[in-house]
């Protein structure tokens, strides 16, 4: 049984964020000392690692909650988990395509400008076109 500071050290997740995860329902409320200090167990540590890993992969809180309820459901199937992660992959892929599109547009816009000392700049012209 560890206090929140120790949990923070072990997981690398800030104390404030751990409390926040409890508040938004991603982490079950732990027991408390008489003083009110939170006391976490092994299950909490595992859950925080789960949150840390899914967060790193860009999962939204909503999607993480869906995954967690699968995790907690003894009738879950490997298939359902896979489908959920595939949706995440699709979302990320679309984001990547969007950003790649922006990247290409920026490259094209930059190519139009010779970077001289004049105040006229084709980039600025592009930026106030009506679209």
């Amino acid at each position: 049984m560890i206090k929140i500071g120790e949990m923070s050290k072990r997981t690398g997740i800030p104390v404030t964020t751990i409390r926040y995860y409890e508040k938004v329902g991603l982490l079950p409320a732990p027991g408390r000392l008489e003083s009110g200090y939170r006391l976490y167990n092994r299950a909490h540590l595992e859950r925080i690692n789960f949150l840390k890993n899914t967060r790193k992969l860009g999962f939204s809180q909503q999607r993480i909650k869906a995954l967690v309820s699968l995790l907690e459901n003894p009738n879950r199937t490997s298939e359902k988990v896979k489908i959920s992660v595939q949706s995440q992959l699709e979302e990320i892929r679309e984001k990547r395509l969007l950003i790649q599109n922006i990247e290409n547009q920026l490259k094209q816009i930059i190519a139009k400008c010779d970077g001289g000392e004049k105040s006229e700049c084709p980039i600025l012209e592009t930026f106030h076109e009506e679209t």
Copy 2:
């Protein structure tokens, strides 16, 4: 001279967003009718198109403000504009690399799961590893 609803129609930017741009200093405060209604001119229309175009390219408000002050500075140079947009490109490129990295990790994780009816799932195991 047009009212905010007409401006919204011409630019495709919602009325609330136009007011918001004024509030955060991206759009100069327009004149007003006696009733308090905002009245925009051609320069405002151009500015909103500028905001629309740069926003579409993922520029932050801070960066847009920097660009706008270049735009308003008669001593600006094409080079300075180019440098600013190049920084934006670099930022976007880094975001794209990050998201591409996530995408690849997700693909690898998904590949580990056969998607069967059992409750064990290598994806879930991956997600609560300590990292």
